[in-house]
């Protein structure tokens, strides 16, 4: 059975399957492609036209080898392996087969459906390079090469997903990145099995986590090329997944989730204060509601006398215990958040009305919720948006709920118990073997990445630093 028939069998149920044959001076050349993924212009300019221009003398000795030299296309190779041919055809390549030959010719004619480069939307910032990654891996890498044009930049490619066959690139700077970490990452990726589709880098990051059950992200995703470069210079490894506009940086410590690109481009004191603000916002967003609940349910003693009267007045109209009141309002805010993401942008204005007026004002006037709590919950939610990384922001938003319940059940003791749980949990986490709470370097004398503060550029001895590496988990791929 010739390769032609076998291919016909494989693609029998695919209506895009096209097999075109040309008769040139008595010889038949078959050109096979999938019409939706192959580019029309490349096909006609790169294959059909050169074929037609061959003279009879050439046609007589036509071999795939000769043809490879004649077709003006970027990539091409000889192949008779059915599986490889099928795969490449799915990616938009064309298969040129000369009647009765053994080998055929795979030519690269893939059509690119790519959106143009645009500004970063999720991590938008006032300073620094504004461009963001797109879904096309090669474009993303070219953005990276433009910023770090050095031969130390290593890119190794792996393929993942039984069906999706996604290309995953591990990018790091030689001599900067830790070799053990690179090989650990590589072995983890190759040990991943039974994955049908790898559609986004965030999914990959979760599969590569040291602890799959943790609530906190232990790998940092970003859509900004400058952030990736900064990470690479600071000994990190970046992961790119074809089709995903997010790069994943690892290993990271928790502090890096509160850094933003513009910290580094602003004047140092502004950058430093913004970082402190973000850390405070994190603490506020986690604790503010639960402290309110604890104070109002158990610890009336700690409330300043001036505030006490206002609190009594505002809460006296509410028929629910504070814990229920707080949980209701928190759930409402979560609904608002979620609906504002899911809603088509055309009806977005309705959201503002529903959220702001109906819930905010009417709930207070109806005596459903006390206005001080409304303010406090809004403060907490606002604070969680200040955190520059939205995955971390979401995690912080979630840990408020157990803390509120603990505060409602045991008051301040409950908050302390909950906080201890969180800190112990965080201390146990690692990111590629690097402790998640790697000692924080308050003044950032030498390095930047695990610091709360950001120091004057000249005072940082080197931008990179060395991590203390915990022994990687052996039992990862069980």
């Amino acid at each position: 059975m010739s390769i032609l028939n076998r291919l016909h069998d494989v693609f029998a149920e695919n209506c895009q399957w096209t097999c075109r044959f040309l008769s040139i001076h008595g010889r038949t050349v078959h050109i096979m492609f999938l019409s939706n993924v192959a580019d029309d212009q490349l096909l006609s300019e790169g294959i059909l036209r050169p074929l037609q221009k061959l003279d009879s003398h050439e046609v007589e000795q036509l071999t795939p080898d000769y043809l490879l030299g004649q077709l003006p296309l970027k990539k091409g190779e000889l192949s008779c392996d059915l599986e490889q041919i099928c795969h490449k055809l799915m990616l938009g390549w064309s298969y040129v087969w000369i009647q009765d030959g053994t080998d055929g010719l795979l030519m690269y004619t893939a059509a690119h459906h790519e959106r143009s480069l645009s500004k970063a939307e999720i991590e938008s910032d006032e300073y620094g390079p504004q461009v963001a990654f797109v879904e096309e891996l090669s474009t993303n890498l070219s953005l990276l090469y433009k910023l770090l044009p050095d031969s130390k930049l290593c890119v190794s490619s792996l393929e993942m997903g039984d069906v999706s066959k996604t290309v995953v690139n591990i990018v790091y700077l030689k001599e900067y990145a830790n070799e053990d970490q690179v090989s650990l990452l590589r072995s983890r990726i190759s040990s991943l099995q039974h994955i049908n589709g790898m559609l986004d880098s965030l999914k990959l990051a979760q599969l590569l986590d040291d602890n799959v059950a943790t609530l906190f992200p232990t790998m940092l995703h970003t859509e900004r090329p400058d952030r990736v470069c900064q990470g690479l210079l600071a000994n990190k490894i970046a992961l790119f997944v074809d089709g995903s506009p997010f790069a994943v940086l690892c290993p990271v410590t928790i502090y890096e989730f509160f850094h933003a690109g513009s910290d580094m481009y602003q004047r140092w004191i502004v950058g430093m204060l913004l970082r402190v603000l973000r850390m405070c916002a994190m603490i506020a967003s986690v604790f503010v509601t639960s402290i309110y609940v604890a104070a109002i349910t158990f610890h009336y003693q700690v409330i300043p006398p001036e505030l006490l009267k206002t609190l009594i007045q505002s809460h006296s109209r509410v028929p629910f215990p504070p814990i229920l009141e707080a949980l209701m309002l928190e759930v409402m805010i979560e609904l608002l958040r979620e609906s504002s993401i899911r809603m088509p942008s055309k009806v977005g204005q309705t959201m503002g009305v529903v959220g702001g007026i109906v819930i905010g004002q009417a709930a207070v006037e109806a005596g459903f919720i006390s206005n001080i709590l409304l303010m406090i919950v809004a403060l907490g939610t606002l604070s969680s948006f200040v955190v520059s990384n939205f995955a971390m922001g979401n995690s912080l938003q979630i840990i408020r709920f157990p803390l509120i319940i603990l505060a409602g059940a045991w008051g301040g003791v409950g908050i302390i118990v909950g906080t201890c749980f969180i800190i112990i949990h965080l201390a146990r986490q690692t990111s590629l073997g690097v402790p998640y709470l790697q000692p924080m370097n308050m003044l950032a004398g030498k390095s930047d990445e695990h610091s709360v503060m950001r120091m004057i550029w000249k005072w940082m001895k080197r931008e990179n630093s060395s991590y203390r590496i915990r022994k990687p988990k052996e039992d990862f791929a069980e």
Binding site: A213, F298, Y300, Q301, I312, Q313, P321, P322, W410, G411
Partner: protein, 382 residues
């Protein structure tokens, strides 16, 4: 897929934690603020003689759940200050809690008999700190807590604010539970508390109550109060008026009145007490007083530094005699609110130094005052 056995075990652990949580949720006693009757002030008096009870307690609490937060007084009698809760709870719908208590008032008759048993219970209560103000009320504390004030503020808050202001920048030495207990348990020092009076629709601090141990035995008027507080350490007074003798000032101006008064504002005092003779005992009290000269009761040309210095010297003489007067009074009553005894004890190592011994020594003690007054900003005052 990637969850190994250890992690699986950890996941199975979660329901147990939730179960424990559910079981022990009720263990903490909820005190939701709008369901409480939060006491802001409490007053103690002697109970009526014909009743079996010992103490009459009046509490001032926020109305639970009300939209207005004025305080309401409730009174009941019992034998102990905490036991009275049982009776008070029969009179209020809310649970009375004392965690926000600011002021504890004692009626004068009760205070003259001793108040330590009533203050001691506060000290052992973890709900309140030791920053509660203790005051003595003229006649009865019940009357004080039931009084209205011209400002129409809630009586509890008003009392607290009134005391706080006068402690920070007036003649009242800090009467917190902490200071009271410190002075009570320290040999060589006696507590001193503000004495509050109700005059018509006005509540005022009329004098300071001198306490011997925990019993009130006398009082200090306002001038004496100033002297005592000035001796008690570095203090700040908003204003102070000093009477000057005109005799020696005649060469600087023509007096239109018999007496000359100078009012100082933002008065800062610095005091240092030294034992100079441990046998008598004799103390040197060095007081430095600085103040902005705000008002002079007569027309004096203050352009010459010489005139100002002369005024300062006169003020020193007046203050010195005031200090000496108050010390004579304290020695006669054998009470030592300034704490000369504890100064003596810390500089002279006396074995078995007791409060009784000190009272005897205090009677014989001599005091040398070294007062220095400086007028700052004689011209324009802020």
């Amino acid at each position: 897929m990637h969850i190994n056995n250890r992690e699986k075990k950890r996941v199975y652990f979660v329901p147990y934690i939730l179960l424990i949580f559910l079981v022990v949720t009720g263990c903490a006693e909820a005190k939701i603020i709008d369901k409480l009757g939060i006491l802001v002030a409490v007053g103690y008096d002697l109970a009526d003689e014909d009743s079996n009870d010992r103490i009459r307690t009046t509490v001032l609490s926020y109305k639970p759940g009300a939209t207005s937060t004025n305080t309401v007084p409730t009174s009941a009698s019992n034998n102990t200050s905490k036991g009275v809760r049982e009776k008070l709870s029969l009179r209020t719908s809310a649970k009375l809690v004392i965690g926000q208590m600011r002021v504890a008032a004692y009626g004068e008759p009760l205070a003259r008999g001793g108040i330590i048993t009533l203050t001691d219970t506060f000290q052992r209560d973890s709900e309140i700190g030791t920053s509660v103000y203790l005051v003595v009320a003229k006649d009865s504390a019940e009357q004080l807590l039931n009084a209205k004030n011209r400002q129409r503020a809630g009586t509890g808050d008003y009392l607290y604010d009134l005391l706080k202001k006068n402690i920070e920048s007036g003649i009242v030495p800090s009467p917190t539970l902490h200071h009271f207990l410190n002075a009570y348990y320290r040999s060589g020092k006696d507590p001193i508390l503000p004495y509050l009076e109700v005059q018509g629709d006005e509540i005022l601090i009329s004098k300071l109550a001198l306490m011997k141990d925990d019993r009130m035995i006398g009082s200090l008027n306002l001038t004496e109060s100033f002297s005592v507080k000035a001796m008690m350490g570095s203090n700040h007074f908003l204003t102070h008026e000093i009477e000057l003798n005109t005799e020696r000032l005649r060469k600087y101006y023509e007096p239109t009145f018999d007496k000359l008064y100078v009012t100082l504002s933002h008065v800062m005092t610095k005091t240092r007490i030294k034992v100079i003779d441990k046998n008598t005992p004799e103390f040197q009290v060095q007081i430095r007083l600085k103040g902005e000269m705000e008002e002079v009761s007569d027309l004096i040309n203050l352009e010459e530094a010489e005139v100002i210095h002369a005024l300062e010297r006169e003020a020193e003489k007046t203050l010195k005699s005031e200090f000496e007067d108050v010390m004579r009074k304290l020695q006669k009553k054998q009470v030592d609110p300034v704490g000369f005894g504890s100064h003596y004890r810390s500089s002279v190592r006396v074995q078995d130094f007791t409060a009784e011994k000190w009272r005897e020594m205090f009677k014989e003690a001599r005091f040398v005052f070294d007062v220095k007054v400086t007028f700052v900003n004689v011209g324009i005052t802020s």
